[in-house]
């Protein structure tokens, strides 16, 4: 006898296959009962067996037929047409009025009369109902059939098909039919012909120390892995995508040779406005446009001379009453250009370039495109030969570094720069949008700071807008989310991934 290769089935599945083979066709509930397990617990195994072609699973419709209350009543007391006939048989003829009062409801009487007339067993004439003896046999047959049907369903019946004989009793509301579906398993021919080859035994799904310590693994059967099932998603701790984008911009600036500087969020009007030659009557200095802290900073001695110089330029070139005390008022900075100006004051003449990326504030109510707190990237390039061309070239380089493509420039106006420019980049959906404002600091800004003879290219980019473009986010508030699922799920921003040189 040749050694036949046995195919292992997990024990649970083997026992089910055996039961189904014996029963040939069975309801799943029945199989579960015989296997001593719950219906919901064997579904996985049944699915496996079906996948292997050993059983076939189908949904069959069954019907439960039982007598309705009316049906039960008629079976016990007789059908309405029977009762009318019995009454008529006494005298062969009765007035309709009398027949209406033999214990039947109006509907029942009308229905009975209708049936009797249908078979021609009675005749209605001048208020009288007359029995027609020659036609009685047909209706008696009918009544017999109905009563047989009723008797059949005196206890509930479960069938897979509705018999045609049910039609009339169903029409008369004498039976109730409930439809329900049941799972049914059938043994396939494949199972029948291959059952001897099957044997209960385990397949390995997880390597254990015992399996590792075996002498050899010839008898070990590894369960084929089902790759059609989607693998689980892992929870992961992440850096915030917005800080990643901001840090990428930091790296970009460093790669262009810029040193990072920082300045305070609570700032003097001096640095936020006056040193930038923004007149004290300018709309950007109104309470509707800048958050006021309501206190003042002390006047530091080395700043006093600077204030005199600045005041002179305001009075001379703008021609209004400049108030020195106002410069020491504290506000929340409205732009990071205040940091650039502070740096110019601290470092003075020279050749250098610095940048800062930090938060600024403007009174606003949050909506999809505005926030009261947002980020700006401000920078300056300082030197005697620095020019407007360098500013435009920087914008082009910066845009390239972010993958924003071509930059187009338009003349603009800022109180502290001349020439001034606004750079536009192309958004795939929104078209050209302005994101790169900048200019050359005016002499009235530079001279009080001691930078006569120097040119300074300056800009202040609203990077939230840029981040929204890069990440295809349409609501600015989403950049500042603290929703951990959002943060965990957001993939690494493409601008960060595309940072390197390819090829």
């Amino acid at each position: 006898m040749s050694e036949q290769r046995k195919v292992k089935l997990p024990a649970r599945q083997y026992s089910i296959a055996k039961i189904v083979l014996e029963l040939k066709v069975a309801k799943v509930s029945e199989v579960a009962r015989l296997a001593g397990r719950r219906e919901q617990d064997i579904m996985r195994d049944i699915a496996e067996l079906e996948r292997m072609g050993l059983i076939k699973l189908s949904r069959r419709t069954f019907y439960k037929i039982e007598l309705s209350e009316l049906g039960k009543k008629y079976l016990a007391d007789g059908l309405p047409e029977e009762i009318v006939l019995r009454e008529l048989a006494k005298d062969m003829r009765e007035p309709i009025a009398v027949l209406r009062n033999i214990g039947l409801s109006n509907n029942e009487f009308e229905a009975a009369l209708g049936i009797l007339r249908r078979f021609g067993a009675v005749r209605v004439h001048e208020g009288y109902v007359e029995l027609m003896p020659s036609n009685i046999s047909k209706v008696l047959e009918y009544i017999q059939e109905i009563k047989e049907e009723l008797r059949r369903y005196s206890s509930p019946n479960i069938v897979s098909e509705l018999p045609s004989s049910l039609k009339e009793v169903r029409r008369r509301g004498l039976v109730e039919v409930k439809e329900y579906k049941e799972l049914v398993v059938e043994a396939t021919d494949f199972l029948a012909s291959n059952f001897e080859v099957l044997t209960p035994g385990e397949v390995v799904t997880v390597i254990t120390p015992e399996i590792i310590s075996l002498e050899n693994w010839d008898s070990v059967e590894f369960k084929p892995f089902d790759l059609s099932v989607e693998p689980p998603k892992l929870p992961v701790a992440r850096k915030h995508f917005f800080t990643e984008v901001i840090n990428y911009m930091r790296e970009l600036m460093v790669s262009l040779g810029f040193e990072e500087v920082k300045g305070p969020h609570v700032e003097l009007e001096l640095w936020n406005f006056d040193a930038l030659f923004v007149p004290q009557y300018h709309p950007s200095r109104r309470p509707s446009d800048v958050y006021i802290i309501g206190s003042t900073a002390p006047l530091e001695p080395h700043v006093a001379d600077l204030l005199n110089a600045i005041g002179k330029y305001h009075r001379e070139f703008r021609g209004y009453k400049w108030d020195q005390e106002r410069t020491l008022r504290l506000v929340l900075r409205t732009h990071c250009t205040a940091v650039s100006i502070r740096t110019l004051w601290e470092r003075g003449p020279g050749e250098y370039r610095v940048f800062t990326i930090d938060r600024v504030f403007r009174p606003d109510t949050p909506d999809p495109t505005h926030l009261m707190e947002f980020h700006q990237l401000d920078g300056i390039i300082v030197g005697p030969r620095v020019s407007f061309k360098d500013l435009l070239e920087f914008f082009r380089e910066f845009s390239r570094g972010l993958g924003l493509g071509e930059v187009r420039f338009k003349p603009a106006y800022f109180p502290f720069t001349e020439p001034s420019v606004e750079g536009y980049v192309r958004h795939p959906r929104l078209g050209w949008i302005e994101v790169l404002p900048g200019g050359m600091f005016r002499k009235q800004v530079l001279e009080p700071l001691g930078l006569k003879g120097y040119n300074v290219a300056a800009w202040g980019i609203g990077i939230d807008r840029v981040a929204m473009i890069l990440m295809e986010i349409s609501d600015i508030r989403d950049l500042y989310t603290d929703d951990v699922r959002e943060i965990e799920r957001t993939p690494v921003p493409r601008v960060v991934l595309n940072a390197g040189r390819s090829g």
Partner: protein, 554 residues
């Protein structure tokens, strides 16, 4: 940035030719105008803050005519005759007045509409909504000179747009302008412009009289400015006068100011004469960054309305006359910008000046980055929150010291956070509630505002939430964090019962310097934030970490 509306046909007749949309769009870019709407025969644009002359069709047409070369720039001719305004009894709180006359204009409905648009836009943008400067326009032929600018206790006249005589009180109550600008005048001391026959010109800055108003029949326009800022007033008057002049005028007369010893019509004369600025080719090249051929410069300048008076081509110097309506031009760099505009910004390119030093991150950012890396490695997810926060929430948690802004738009964004923990606590609660989380670890690296000094400080804060969380978890995390940066933390009991259970909170010290806190959050806060499991929080100063790390180098 005011929005200005002009009719294309009015523009065409002022310029002297029809203009195609393409040409107009290009010109608009050069003039810094942002088109907001083009409809049938009207175009609406946003004008920049510095080009007051473009706040109506007249100035726009003039600028276009120069740009396309249809007109050559010329100085304004004006004279001073015998007409004067007596300002000797002017109100002390609005003492200045200047006047000009423009003769020979041809006005129709649209022209009047444009001039009033210019007046309105100037009032709103540069005149402090009439507080600093108020502009008036009158039909000269209805006025008998001399004119008086005086302070009166009361007056009655028919205000513009009305048919009945009203007293000042009635004007202030019943008319729209009276209600809007009434606060600019002092009761019983009203400014009044009246002529020698007692006819009222206007009650500045509130309203003109109906009798002396400008109509389509007006041939000669009288313009006045009154207010508190004389230099500003004169600039505004120059813009207004030169725009009225565009309506076909033949002459400009300056009205004398009598009764004052300073800020008389001399200021107007000086301003209307324009000014001279010398710009050098060297500066042009140096500021723009391109070699600009000297021959091209005069043409560029003329295209912007300047008169090039003298060209020292050997030295590369240009003496340029600047028209009085270009109030934005204060030095040679303004001329350089206009030259750059003529060159087209998109054509300015070249090699960028190379840096003279290497780029460098700020040390705080370097430390922050390392902190973030370690915390992610410990399984914390990063969140961000705003610096502006809710003062009531801070107070409820027990934070009593923080700075508030005086003019918030929303109360929940009116305090400057003195610590990161309040928002971190909120973030934990929000996420736990939204996702039904059993456990959570988050952190934030961010700036706080020191309540005493208003200075900016950088901190790092973290939260560990879940069943069985205790102070040990916080200590373990902060210890790991600091040790990986080379520091040795020492934990000492803290007396902190803001947020924390006093007996279960700790300070963190490194080399004897306190730099942070760790603690278990008190159940009363957990209950308030609808958290069902314990929460441990920590907050550490990144500034002090950075300092300590620097000390290690030595």
């Amino acid at each position: 940035m005011p929005v200005v509306a002009v009719k294309l046909w009015d523009l065409a007749r002022l310029v002297g030719t029809e203009l195609s949309m393409d040409v107009l769009e290009d010109l608009f870019v050069k003039l810094k105008l942002e088109v907001s709407k083009i409809e049938l025969d009207e175009v609406m644009y946003e004008a920049p803050h510095d080009r007051l002359d473009l706040y109506s069709a007249e100035g726009l047409a003039r600028a276009i005519a120069y740009q396309v070369g249809l007109r050559a720039p010329r100085k304004f001719k004006f004279f001073k005759g015998g007409l004067y305004v007596d300002a000797s009894s002017a109100p002390s709180y609005r003492p200045y007045v200047f006047m000009t006359i423009v003769r020979g204009v041809k006005l129709d409905d649209e022209a009047i509409s444009q001039l009033f648009q210019l007046q309105e836009k100037l009032h709103l943008t540069h005149c402090g909504n009439r507080e600093l400067v108020s502009i008036g326009l009158y039909d000269l032929d209805t006025v008998s000179f001399p004119v008086y600018y005086r302070e009166v206790p009361d007056v009655a006249f028919v205000p513009l747009g009305s048919s009945e005589i009203m007293s000042v009180k009635e004007i202030l109550e019943k008319t729209e302008k009276g209600r809007e600008y009434g606060n600019l005048v002092k009761e019983g001391h009203y400014p009044l412009l009246v002529d020698s026959q007692g006819k009222v010109l206007s009650l500045p800055p509130i309203i003109n009289s109906e009798e002396t108003k400008v109509t389509e029949r007006t041939k000669n326009v009288l313009i006045d400015v009154t207010g508190t800022e004389p230099y500003l007033m004169v600039s505004i008057l120059a813009v207004m006068t030169t725009s009225v002049y565009e309506r076909g005028a033949s002459e400009i007369e300056i009205v004398r100011v009598v009764g004052r010893n300073n800020f008389t019509e001399e200021v107007v004369e000086r301003t209307l004469s324009g000014k001279y600025i010398t710009v050098s080719l060297g500066r042009i090249t140096n500021l723009i960054g391109l070699e600009v051929p000297a021959g091209g410069v005069p043409e560029f300048l003329r295209g912007h309305g300047y008169v090039v008076e003298q060209v020292e081509s050997g030295v590369g110097l240009f003496k340029v006359w600047v028209p009085p309506y270009r109030v934005d031009v204060i030095d040679e760099d303004d001329l350089v910008e206009d030259i750059a505009i003529s060159l087209d910004y998109n054509k300015i390119s070249g090699k960028i000046e190379p840096p003279t030093h290497r780029g460098l991150l700020h040390q705080i950012e370097v430390i922050s980055r390392n902190l973030r890396d370690i915390l992610v490695g410990l399984g914390f997810t990063e969140v961000v929150n705003f610096i502006l926060t809710d003062p009531d929430y801070l107070t409820r948690l027990g934070f009593s010291s923080f700075i508030e802004v005086k003019n918030p738009k929303m109360r929940i964004y009116s305090a400057l956070r003195p610590a990161l923990l309040p928002e971190i606590l909120k973030s934990v609660s929000k996420n736990v509630k939204k996702y039904g989380l059993q456990s959570l670890k988050i952190f934030e690296v961010g700036d706080i505002i020191d309540p005493k000094t208003a200075g900016t400080r950088r901190n790092v804060a973290g939260a560990i939430y879940g069943p069985g969380t205790t102070l040990t978890d916080g200590l373990a995390a902060t210890r790991t964090l600091l040790e990986l940066l080379g520091l040795k933390p020492v934990f000492k009991p803290a007396e902190n019962d803001v947020l924390f259970i006093r007996e279960r909170s700790s300070t963190i010290e490194v080399s004897g310097v306190a730099l942070g806190l760790v603690g278990e959050v008190h159940p009363k806060h957990l209950k308030q934030m609808e958290l069902s499991f314990p929460l441990t929080l920590f907050e550490i100063s990144v500034d002090v970490i950075a300092k300590q790390v620097q000390e290690l180098k030595r």
